[in-house]
């Protein structure tokens, strides 16, 4: 009964994703964040590939490839470059201290599972329980965005969220139609480029990436 193996592996990878999300939540250094992000992408690509192989949905291979290229190679490299160039790799104190964040995170995970439970019951796919994990990843990434006050961590959080979504797309439902996935990938790519431009502009305008400088626009 080989299928169960795949199932187990996918579940394992799902757990891994969740773990990495938590790690990101607790990670203080930007470089570390980028690394974790890369690993998350890798896990994602792997799981996608496995799902593709186990249910021979060929277009999932493409998605896996795209993920590999974009999220494991291109973006981390780009971010490393950015960090080196702007030399912003110091310890980033999150706005809420780590333990509290973790606690909130756990609560979120439980919430996500409860939310996903009735749905994954009726799921016809081999990988049923993954939806909850995907949702958890999304919420955790969201939480991370909330807690970080620097530009790059914010962006990474954003992309981590995208990872979660992608995981949901692939594992919970065997991938969206190819066109959609291509479109999504394209958007992500463009988005990252725009972000890159931004971060440079922010850097040269405020000569810092600390978002505390960007709180001018408000009701006074």
């Amino acid at each position: 009964m080989t299928l169960t193996y795949h199932l187990q592996i996918v579940n394992l990878l799902a757990a891994l994703l969740l773990l990495i999300s938590f790690a990101m939540l607790s990670q203080r250094r930007i470089v570390g964040l980028v690394t974790l992000f890369a690993w998350q992408g890798a896990a994602l690509a792997l799981s996608t590939a496995i799902v593709a192989w186990s249910t021979d949905q060929h277009h999932l291979y493409y998605s896996a490839a795209i993920t590999l290229v974009l999220k494991v190679v291109a973006m981390p490299w780009y971010f490393y470059r950015l960090v080196r160039k702007l030399d912003v790799n110091r310890v980033v104190e999150p706005m809420i201290n780590i333990p509290t964040t973790m606690l909130i995170g756990i609560v979120l995970v439980i919430f996500a599972f409860n939310l996903a439970l009735p749905i994954s019951e009726m799921s016809g796919t081999v990988t049923r329980s993954t939806l909850g994990i995907a949702l958890a990843c999304v919420l955790l990434a969201f939480l991370m965005m909330i807690t970080r006050s620097k530009a790059i961590p914010l962006v990474i959080g954003f992309l981590a969220m995208e990872n979660g979504l992608f995981f949901a797309a692939t594992s919970a439902t065997y991938g969206m139609p190819l066109v959609v996935e291509l479109g999504v990938a394209l958007d992500v790519l463009v988005g990252v480029f725009v972000l890159g431009i931004f971060i440079f502009q922010i850097r040269e305008t405020f000569d810092s990436l600390d978002l505390k400088h960007m709180e001018k626009l408000k009701e006074r």
């Binding site: 706005m95 969201f142 965005m145 909330i146 807690t147 505390k212 709180e215 408000k218 009701e219 006074r220």
Partner: protein, 672 residues
Amino acid sequence: MTNGFSSYFADPVQWAWAGVMFWLVLGFAALLLQGSQRLLTRLVFPLGALGALAIAGVGVAGMLLPVSTVVLPIGLPDLPFHLRLDALSAFFMVLLGGAAFGITVYASGYFRSMAAGPLALLALWYHLFLAGMVTVLLADDAYAFMVAWEVMALSSYFLVTTDHKIPEIRRAGFLYLLIAHVGAISLLLTFGVLQGGHGDYTFDTMRLAERTPFWASAAYLLALFGFGAKAGLVPMHVWLPEAHPAAPSPVSALMSGVMLKTAIYGLLRVTFDLLNIQIGWWGTLALALGLITALYGVIFAAVQSDMKRLLAWSSIENIGILLAAFGLTLIFYTDGKGALAALTLTAMLYHALNHAFFKGLLFVGTGSVLHATGERNMGRLGGLMRFMPWTAWLTLVGALAIAGLPPLNGFVSEWLLLQAFLLTPGLTQPYLNMVIPVAAAIVALAAALAAYVMVKFYGVVFLGQPRDPALHHAHEASWPERLGMLWLAAGCVLLGLFPTQVIVWLEPVVRMLTGQTLPSGSSWLLLTPVSAERASYAPLIFFAVVVGVLLLTILWVRRVYHGRVRRSDPWDCGYPEQDARMQDSAEGFGQPIRQIFEIFMRVERETPDPFSRSPRYHGASLDKLWFILYEPIARVAGWLSEQAGRLQHGRIQWYLIYSFATLIFLLVFTTR
């Protein structure tokens, strides 16, 4: 165009609509005539006046002819403009046309001193204003009504802010439009209650709809609020004393004389026509509000020192009287006393008509004074009777009329109203029997105070000695202005002398609303609203006798008297250096009233100390309601917006938290 062009202009309603179109065209034509000031004053406004006359004529016809309706090709897809001309609309059209004719004739003289550019714009808004008011009267579905209603408000706003360089005027205009808009929204809600659902807004369906007392009352209260805001009902009156004086005098005349009546019209329309049931306490409420408004208005009129402001407050008083009459009508009507309701309603309509004429007359009179002297503050006027006799004598007619003195028109409507009050013993609810005499007393008090106010107004402005040397160069009004005033004054006199005819003419309206009419007078001479031995009044005889005795006395005195006359200085109490500035000022004249009714006002007085080189006196009696009602509201709004402002914190993390919280909340909320 449901019924093609061929059968167009067949019914009165279509003539009326033609009149409206004429005004619209005229307005936009005025915009094209920007170049020539002559054409604007000598052509556009006279034509507009003719239009008003035509509208009045159509109204007269509409009172006699059967109800006519028309559906216009414009409006919302499922809801083209429905127009309908029944007796009620027709009556108010006569009111509008009659007053507007005089006022517009006057305007054609008044605006001659105005530059062409602004005048063209003013002419546009002026005629839009007229057209809007007529359309309000004609509208037979909620959408048409609201559109016309707001067009009326908007155009009058632009008229009020004609002189927008002055901050006070801008403030007045803003306040006016704001309260008008809030009132309009509440009217929208009224129609929301009245509509039959599934987007049918015609008045016909509203008439047929059955409603529970709760919803009927809701509609009534919303309408009372909405129309009250437009009519200047206390406590929604604050805009009126600001906006009416701010406008050019003919416009003030239109607003006070005519526009306020459209609110009364709307109230009648909704309460008696659109609502299928009426409830007694509605009337009591309206009566109470009306009396408060009347007293409040007249008291504040008495302490004003700006002549147009004084007139504006007196408009509030008259609106109060109208609303009191409305309430009494409702009380009688719901009590099953149709005949008495008919009497009260007659009194109300009559008073509305009178007020249109004498208030219009007084406002244009102040307009001429303003032109001749450039002064609105009564403290710097005086003795104008000798420099502008025409204006003075014609205004005197208006002043006597509004003071409710026989044999002029103001007295007739007051007489009818008091008669109605005297008939309340017929009512079934005992507590009303108790209360209503007091109400009558208040009405009488308001009338007496009105006389006080008018003596103050007329005496200080036209009589006595000029308080300012410049006044010696005051010039008489131009002939179109005199013509306009003459028309309005004639209206006051005729309405006063021929009440019997007027009341017979009013019958269709009264029958339409109350289902009954007054017992037709036994003779054309004698006004007997109930019965000959109950009460009667014959202004013609009255007038004849007064004039007769007058002439006899004069003749007799001529006979017995040699007629030698010497001129000399007035008695100076042994203090020779008396000059004009020692006359009683406007503030001085109002002082007793201020002292008696001080509780209603916040009095600001600045008196000089006896040794100051340049002594100056400043006194103002401000509306207390403004401070105890409106400022708190403003403060609360400000506080709320401050709290709302805190949400817009500026830090992106907070914004993310908002989204996050919303998401979580919704997830929890929906999956349960």
